[in-house]
């Protein structure tokens, strides 16, 4: 009994990330079956903000390519890049900012067929009952506002900080940050649950299931940031041809899906 307790305690120290779903993302795993020449599995790492759109795109792609299974790995772009650079067997990488694609290109295995496939804008969200009475971006800098943004390094986090700079409220806004979320979807959760007074996320993150829990506060165009999303085939990919086909698909038929979800064209 006691030995079990020691083991439990030390294991809990050794595995601090235990309990969260991997590096802040969810793996949309469909059953991959082995064998058969038609069966291929494509691994795509995509920024968290692409979760819904890519989910649909993946299903459609599988429909057009029978025998192919697309496995997604969603998470913060910085974490995904680090994984790839560390040798994770990813075929396609779709990032929420050029920075992390550059990282894979320069510090990692390198990429090919790189293209920008979408753009996105950011917005402020507040819980439906708006406890802090936020009406515009300036209010975010008011005393006592509980603000949640993504961590530095995560594109959404960097963009948020850039926006505060543009608005000239950096100091006050950053002082209001009560938590640096591991990715942009976690920001959405914090606000939707009512724990945070406000958060900075992509407009596309206000999806159907969240829309009745939050209110969007528009960020004026002159201070807003337009995020550019690059996609590429990772060198050393296992399924290079298939990866290319997927990238083409995203740049082709996928564009409509992205538009439906609120993304801007590249």
């Amino acid at each position: 009994m006691r030995k079990l307790l020691i083991l439990l305690a030390s294991m809990s120290l050794l595995l601090p990330a235990c309990g969260s779903d991997g590096d802040g993302g969810s793996t949309d795993a469909t059953n991959a079956t082995d064998g058969g020449s038609d069966h291929a599995e494509l691994t795509v790492s995509g920024a968290s903000s692409l979760t819904d759109a890519f989910g649909d795109i993946g299903t459609a792609f599988e429909g057009e390519n029978p025998g192919v299974t697309v496995t997604f790995n969603f998470g913060p772009s910085d974490g995904l890049a680090t994984q790839i650079n560390d040798g994770a067997p990813v075929d396609v990488f779709a990032s929420a900012s050029p920075t992390w694609m550059d990282s894979v290109q320069d510090d990692g295995p390198g990429v090919s067929d790189r293209s920008d496939f979408a753009k996105n804008r950011l917005t402020i969200i507040v819980p439906k009952d708006n406890p802090a009475g936020i009406e515009d971006i300036g209010d975010v800098a008011e005393d006592g506002v509980k603000l949640v943004i993504a961590t530095e390094g995560v594109p959404a986090g960097d963009y948020a900080r850039e926006i505060f700079e543009n608005a000239g409220i950096s100091k006050a806004a950053l002082a209001n940050v009560v938590s640096n979320a591991e990715d942009v979807r976690a920001v959405v959760t914090s606000v939707a649950s009512g724990e945070a007074d406000a958060g900075v996320v992509y407009v596309t993150d206000v999806t159907a299931d969240v829309t009745d829990q939050v209110t969007q506060i528009e960020i004026p165009d002159d201070i807003n940031v337009i995020a550019t999303y690059p996609i590429a085939v990772v060198n050393d990919a296992q399924e290079t041809d298939l990866a290319k086909r997927f990238v083409d698909y995203v740049l082709g038929p996928g564009q409509q899906t992205l538009a439906d979800y609120g993304f801007l064209p590249a």
């Binding site: 006691r2 990330a17 560390d86 914090s190």
Partner: protein
């Protein structure tokens, strides 16, 4: 053995020993370390203070619903930490059953505070304290307490001079185990308390954050946690070989 040993070996292998000094003395890490020590110690202390009376009741008295209470106590141990975090939010978050009352009446919100980190750590380490203290109480010969009372000792005196001293090793085990578990807590903390340097970013959260951008640093901080874990294990071994 391999199961526990390999990750450790992997870490030792990948740790940037050359950089380790620089990483561990950086502002982020020192802040996280200080916070972790504060949170873990508070959690262990609270777990003991709340856990001792509970362990006493579970061992010494009968009351209706005892089996239920015992199951409840063990629950955090088998609950995935993130679920524990969600549960804590549901109870103590701004819209939580207790939290909403705190907010409406006192304007207090627990989420995103150091207190929340302590609460999360206490929640997961409390069962360990109770179990260790229970074991200690069970192993006690109650007749010694009877003998003490025939010698004129009040209940409180008996507790102080007989019960607690005889349980000293188990009390130490309870404190150390709950402290170690609290130190390593991640899922409940990040879900309920959030992640902010200096306020809620404990060492495990710092590891996690670093992991996204600077794996080497993550390894280095992990080694620190390992070192602490070993110190705990070695310290405990002495107790159990008694």
């Amino acid at each position: 053995m391999l199961l526990v040993g390999l990750p450790l070996l992997g870490l030792i292998f990948r740790t940037p020993w050359a950089r380790i000094g620089e990483v561990l003395t950086s502002d982020t890490v020192l802040t996280a370390l200080r916070l972790s020590l504060l949170v873990a110690t508070s959690a262990a202390a609270i777990s003991f203070v709340l856990g001792f009376p509970l362990a006493w009741m579970l061992v010494r008295s009968t009351f209706p619903g005892k089996t239920f209470v015992r199951a409840l106590v063990v629950l955090p141990l088998v609950m995935p930490p993130v679920v524990a975090g969600v549960g804590l939010s549901a109870a103590f978050g701004r819209r939580g059953i207790v939290g909403s009352w705190l907010y409406d009446w006192f304007g207090i919100q627990l989420t995103f505070t150091t207190g929340a980190a302590v609460l999360a750590a206490t929640f997961v380490s409390f069962p360990l304290a109770v179990l260790a203290l229970e074991a200690g109480l069970r192993g006690l010969d109650e007749r010694l307490e009877d003998a003490a009372s025939t010698l004129g000792a009040s209940r409180w005196y008996v507790m102080r001079r007989v019960t607690l001293p005889l349980m000293a090793p188990q009390i130490a085990a309870a404190l150390v185990l709950s402290w170690a578990r609290a130190l390593g807590e991640f899922g409940a903390t990040i879900t309920f308390a959030g992640n902010l340097q200096g306020r809620t970013q404990t060492l495990p959260l710092a590891v996690f954050e670093r992991l996204q951008t600077d794996q080497d640093a993550a390894f280095a901080i992990s080694m620190l946690l390992i070192a602490i874990a070993f110190a705990v294990i070695i310290g405990l071994r002495g107790r159990f070989l008694r």
